[in-house]
């Protein structure tokens, strides 16, 4: 069942001579229980696309349908409410409320949706335990490591049983080992709980936990890799290059790079 659909979506920033077409006529859909990676060089429009899918940015043209509703048509306040109900978020930074502890941060989404009760509290605790934070429930973000914070963010993104879960470079501030742990658990939970997940990432190694890789380039979809073996090959090649994996600024590093086509060189 399709949870999220983008139909001929275009985003143009600015007007006249300053106009930048960040996303150009992109269509995609994600099913429930499917985890999709959104990759591509810097400036290719990944974050813009994610912002539109999240209902944070209105497309210039096209439609975004989540849970059978066109979120581009909603008023600002309706969309805000919709986000709280239907979308789970994990951001790159500033994920958590600094004055709330791990458990309270997760419960925030339950509270927001009026679903905070004994039972849901219990499931928040279970989820955090599942993410290895059983001993850290009462710690505030400042007392948690980057990886732990990111795991709290993942718990928060899932606790209110959203239709769609979105993550923007969730591993950007983590070392390799932590990054693998975090994304692996994230993928597991998305599959288990049957959510539609989209993750923007620069780290192609993380693709091995996803079911489909969508590569963007200059605001368009350049390539889609859905074959399991292809994805593993891509992630494996990235793994071999390890330290030379596409840096954050997205500039190619090696000549004869096996990932050149994915990076869009």
């Amino acid at each position: 069942m399709i949870a999220l659909e983008a139909i001929n979506v275009t985003k143009i920033y600015g007007t006249g001579t300053n106009a930048v077409t960040a996303v150009n006529d992109v269509s995609l859909s994600v099913r429930r229980g499917e985890f999709v990676a959104l990759v591509g060089p810097s400036g290719s429009g990944k974050t813009t696309m994610l912002a539109m899918l999240a209902g944070l940015l209105k497309p210039t043209h096209g439609q975004i349908i989540i849970a059978e509703k066109d979120i581009g048509r909603m008023s600002e306040s309706k969309r805000t409410k919709f986000r709280g109900q239907y979308i789970g978020f994990a951001f790159q930074a500033n994920n958590l409320v600094p004055f709330l502890n791990a458990q309270e941060n997760v419960e925030l989404l339950l509270r927001l949706n009026g679903k905070l009760n004994r039972q849901s509290r219990e499931s928040a605790r279970n989820l955090l335990e599942r993410l290895g934070l059983g001993e850290r429930l009462k710690n505030r973000p400042g007392q948690l490591s980057g990886g732990q914070q990111q795991r709290v963010a993942i718990a928060r993104a899932l606790i209110h049983e959203p239709e769609v879960v979105l993550a923007d470079e969730p591993t950007a501030s983590l070392d390799t080992e932590r990054a693998h742990q975090v994304v692996q658990t994230f993928a597991e939970l998305i599959h288990e709980q049957n959510r539609a997940g989209i993750m923007v990432t620069h780290d192609l190694r993380m693709c091995k936990y996803t079911d489909r890789v969508i590569q963007m380039m200059d605001g368009r979809i350049n390539r889609i890799i859905a074959d399991r073996r292809e994805i593993l090959r891509l992630a494996g090649a990235a793994d071999e290059l390890d330290g030379h994996v596409v840096p954050v600024n997205g500039k190619p590093v090696l000549a004869g790079d096996p990932l050149a086509d994915v990076r869009g060189i």
Binding site: L56, G84, P98
Partner: protein, 384 residues
């Protein structure tokens, strides 16, 4: 949700919020002290006139309500008594002389006020008895004298008068005590008009043959609500007088208006500083929280929730500071002796506290608007 976020944040950052509450408490103390000083000085100036048992005061025409310049004689008093609507008229005379404390300490300036026993102008006693005869060396003293000398009914007090170049001393018997009736910042002593006239500097001495002259006349009306009409009738039927009510009179006291407006200005500026300090504090907080607020809006918190949360927080912290400051100031001022012109009455305190409670919302308005304008897109490190 708004309450939850607002109060959780305060609770988890007690130190920081306590600091700003302490600043608010100090500002509150300052504002209340100025208010108390204004009230204390005002009442030390006007107390006697404010509490007069007559609605109208009659002055000699052209003296611009100056109690020292005005002269009203027997003749006018008789005319005043005949004006319809007038219930009673009392002559009142003012002078300043020195009270000699029995323990030999420095003389005290006092308002020596001549009144007609049983007529408007004579204050009611709470101990002892009213003045009885038109002559005699009996006096009523007010709380200001009692506070300084510990005077009791039956005591003798010594007054010093400088007549020309020579000093004269008078011993008078205290027959009654009255509440605070200060006049022109001085504690008050009330004597029968004849006695007053005999003792006061530049008085008539024996005064036997001359007309008994006072400074003003105090008029009590049959119907207090007919004040304006009777005042008009008096000015029309009695020659060479002008009439004022109590408020008009005390507002015309030398320096009264200037002093009050100075203090009001000070109070306003302190209040204004409060608004700026609180506003500045919350503005800095807000600017530090931009990313966090963007994230909260992205995950589904409405502008409404975020704005309310900020207002609740500002109001709570500010109110807490005001409460501490107010309680502290009240505790402090209630222990001041009568001799210190600091007086915090219920109404002035309440008015100041209400104004101070508005400091928070006023100061916070800018930061709330900043909060409302933060875009949820910030959560993705973007802005439109």
């Amino acid at each position: 949700m708004s309450f939850y976020l607002a109060l959780k944040e305060v609770w988890r950052n007690k130190g920081r919020f306590l600091l700003i509450a302490a600043v608010v408490a100090l500002i509150t103390t300052l504002v209340l002290f100025i208010a108390a000083l204004a009230e204390g000085l005002a009442s030390a100036n006007r107390e006697y006139i404010e509490k007069l048992n007559g609605e109208l005061l009659v002055f000699q025409e052209g003296t611009q309500l100056s109690t020292t310049a005005s002269r009203i004689g027997r003749q006018r008093i008789a005319e005043l008594r005949r004006v319809p609507g007038v219930a009673a008229v009392g002559q009142v005379g003012f002078s300043t002389l020195k009270l000699v404390p029995p323990d030999g300490s420095a003389d005290i300036n006092v308002a020596f006020i001549g009144v007609e026993p049983g007529l408007p102008g004579e204050p009611p006693v709470y101990a002892g008895q009213q003045l009885e005869r038109d002559r005699g060396n009996n006096v009523i003293v007010d709380e200001g004298v009692v506070a300084r000398l510990g005077t009791k009914v039956g005591d003798t007090i010594k007054l010093k008068v400088t007549q020309g170049t020579k000093e004269e001393f008078y011993d008078l018997t205290v027959v009654g005590l009255t509440d605070r009736r200060q006049y022109f910042f001085q504690p008050a002593i009330f004597a029968p008009l004849n006695t007053w006239d005999k003792i006061r500097p530049d008085g008539n001495g024996s005064g036997a043959n001359t007309e008994l002259i006072s400074n003003i006349a105090v008029v009590r009306l049959q119907d207090p609500s007919a004040q304006a009409e009777v005042a008009k009738t008096i000015e029309q039927t009695v020659k060479d007088v002008e009439v004022a009510d109590r408020r008009t009179t005390w507002e015309a006291l030398p320096g009264y208006a200037a002093q009050q407006s100075t203090l009001t200005t000070q109070q306003f500026f302190t209040f204004f500083i409060g608004v700026l300090v609180v506003g500045g504090f919350f503005q800095i907080q807000t600017l530090q929280k931009v990313a966090q607020i963007g994230m909260l809006k992205a995950i589904g918190l409405s502008n409404w929730t975020v704005g309310w949360s900020a207002l609740i927080q500002i109001f709570t912290v500010n109110a807490f500071g005001v409460a501490i400051g107010a309680v502290g100031t009240l505790a402090l001022t209630s222990n001041f002796p009568v001799t210190v012109p600091i007086m915090l009455t219920g109404t002035t305190a309440l008015a100041s506290v209400l104004a101070l409670l508005a400091i928070g919302p006023l100061g916070g308005i800018v930061s709330v608007f900043v909060l409302l304008r933060i875009e949820p897109l910030r959560a993705l490190g973007m802005a439109q």
